[in-house]
Point group: C2
Amino acid sequence: MSGTHTDVPSVLAHELPRPVPADELAACPVGDVLRRVGDKWSMLLVILLGGRPHRYNELHRAVEGISQRMLTRTLRTLESDGLVRRQVHPTVPPSVEYSLTPLGRSLLEPVSALADWAVRHEEEISGARARHAAARDTP
Amino acid sequence: MSGTHTDVPSVLAHELPRPVPADELAACPVGDVLRRVGDKWSMLLVILLGGRPHRYNELHRAVEGISQRMLTRTLRTLESDGLVRRQVHPTVPPSVEYSLTPLGRSLLEPVSALADWAVRHEEEISGARARHAAARDTP
DNA sequence: CCGTATCCGATTTGATACTG
DNA sequence: CAGTATCAAATCGGATACGG
């Protein structure tokens, strides 16, 4: 186990853009983890559960656009990754509560920062895309 | 312009997990932007270019695992979003330099935070996954 | 209420080969 | 060196129907 990423050398700066051991990072499981969180619904669910625990159909209504299939799949993946806890209450009818684990709550910070960036720079991006599309039509 | 996400209400907390206006967020273009950055290679390239500008084949070697097709596609998307600048030097043979725009550099911060999180908690995640898999085999 | 199972289309990605 | 073109495979994601 020494060829993966050597020793987690505090890989990234928190405030300023600094040179990064790129080769180490590229070969790392970082991409793996990022892809896991970077799918269509994971971040949204993490943020949602960051507010408070939710029941299954609560989530289904809150996201509204997600299918049962993807809601279940995404929750199961988050659970198996230790980010979300699934708690079944043996009532009748049964109720299931989903909540963030401590690990999940720690993820909430960087994810929130990214979502925050997306909101702040949404217009700049769509502007750039519009300019790019226009430049492609009238070169 | 009033039905999209009302007024960008400082949507997410930076330090502490706080309740989030979930319905607003879910209907927002946030998911759009996140999906754009959350694909398999974008974050990696942004981080790589955050270190210093790179030429095409430099990136190809640095990531090592990406196909020419995906490298080009991802770079083009990042460029059209205004995150990356593509500069062609009319030398022979031709050389093309990719670098981060100011907008791209602003993205570097939250992305780095997320990648940093991924590195720090990589073991916890794989541990959780292992436990989950084990629990599935011997219930 | 809380899911699982199945089918099917859309999108993403990689391999390979070829060009200015 | 820096790409483009084409094809096939894998994955994603939604609709629908059914089960505990």
